[in-house]
């Protein structure tokens, strides 16, 4: 395997992203296990990818720390859940991003898309959801009995069993719902399960609800 082909076929990034067919991956691994140059390129690509993702997470985390779930809770308590069902989105505070990372600004500036998840309606059949084509927060308002625990954990698991997203310490909005906010970039088309668990005082988590989701790319 020569380096021109590796560059032309973008093998380094495709390997790091895990999008290579098995046969090509085997061939590439057999090459780079003895190639210092490719090993370095893979490590840089992997680190850069992780770093870009972390830079977004760091920036997104900061505004969320300041505003927490307050805006969601306020919206919910103000009766905006009806509006949620009708597809009306909330406005999100926009001027907190500290750097000029254009993509992050986009995700913060655009109104989040909100989806109501009802246990009775959604328990058996996956809920069909379109992932916004542009970066946005996707807020899932999960209907549960939220009186049993003071904190909850939400985990999104793919059909292959991979953990896609996890958030701990979620406080209920109301006695019957919690909000789970996920940046659209973290989700991809496929079938997932959003599991909500209650945090017990001893640190154990008890599952309280599962919401199957079928995500499709939005237009």
């Amino acid at each position: 395997m020569d380096h021109l082909r590796i560059e032309e076929r973008n093998l380094i990034d495709r390997y790091v992203r895990g999008t290579m067919p098995a046969a090509e991956r085997v061939e590439f691994e057999d090459h780079f296990v003895d190639c210092a140059e490719c090993q370095e390129q893979i490590e840089i690509a992997k680190s850069l990818r992780q770093a870009v993702r972390e830079s977004v997470t760091e920036q997104v985390r900061e505004p969320r720390r300041r505003f927490g779930w307050r805006w969601v809770a306020v919206a919910a308590s103000a009766g905006l859940l009806m509006a949620v069902a009708a597809g009306t989105a909330f406005l999100l505070q926009r001027d907190r991003a500290r750097s000029d990372l254009a993509s992050v600004r986009l995700s913060l500036e655009r109104a989040p898309v909100v989806f109501g998840l009802s246990l009775s309606r959604d328990a058996a059949e996956p809920r069909d959801i379109s992932i916004p084509s542009e970066p946005r927060w996707m807020v899932f308002l999960a209907e549960i009995d939220a009186t049993r625990y003071s904190r909850y954990r939400a985990v999104v698991i793919s059909s292959r069993g991979d953990e896609i997203w996890k958030q701990d310490g979620i406080q209920p909005n109301s006695p019957d719902s919690i909000s789970v906010a996920i940046p659209s970039g973290a989700l991809h088309p496929g079938t997932y399960t959003l599991t909500v668990s209650g945090a017990q005082p001893d640190g154990a988590f008890i599952p309280v609800a599962r919401f199957p989701l079928r995500l499709a790319a939005g237009k």
Binding site: A45, R53, V56, G203
Partner: protein, 192 residues
């Protein structure tokens, strides 16, 4: 660019002849590559370390015992062992899950990242922000964002943004080079 000096066949012969330094050379030569292969499939560092140890233990045993049929393809042989062990690891994990099926689905809290992990994460994020801010245009930033965060395909990105594959490769390549350079300069800064 090969990692080590000896030819693969020569290395195999020396190990079979009982030369201890040849075994060290084999481990040194393939260590980084095998780590990458295992790390690509196993996110858990402890599990990856176990598989890594087992891969080299098994590889050396097989080389000593003359089980390498094509010594000139030693690299592929070692990769094959690493891949087989990763698969075996997942099979073992699946068996364990099946055995405990039906038991209460109890989850335990994940350990918080250590201060060092947090520091490294913030450092990487700072580096990435620098790289992104140094890109010449919003379009180039968008390329990186869509490629690394949205995981969009190269072809889709090129089509949507109206850029050539060459331009795409140049942006990604420049970003990688810049990232490496800043990373190295930060390391140098620490040394002084």
């Amino acid at each position: 660019m090969e990692v080590g000096g000896s030819s693969s066949a020569g290395l195999v012969s020396r190990i079979r002849a009982g030369e201890r330094s040849a075994e060290d050379e084999l481990v040194q030569r393939y260590s980084r590559g095998v780590s990458i292969i295992i790390g690509q499939s196993l996110a858990d560092p402890a599990a990856a370390a176990d598989v890594y140890q087992e891969a080299f233990r098994l590889a050396l045993t097989k080389v000593r015992d003359g089980e390498v049929r094509e010594p000139e393809r030693l690299a592929g042989f070692i990769c094959g062992i690493a891949r087989a062990l990763v698969i075996e690891y997942f099979r073992g994990a699946a068996r364990l899950r099946a055995r405990h099926q039906g038991e209460p689905d109890r989850q335990f809290p994940s350990p918080e990242p250590s201060q060092l992990d947090q520091l490294l994460r913030e450092e990487r994020a700072t580096l990435a922000r620098r790289v992104l801010s140094e890109l010449s245009s919003d379009r180039d930033r968008k390329i990186l964002y869509r490629f690394y965060i949205e995981d969009d395909d190269k072809d889709d990105i090129c089509a949507d943004l109206g850029i050539s594959a060459l331009h795409f490769n140049q942006v990604i390549c420049r970003a990688r080079q810049r990232y490496k350079k800043i990373f190295e300069s930060m390391g140098e800064g620490r040394k002084t």
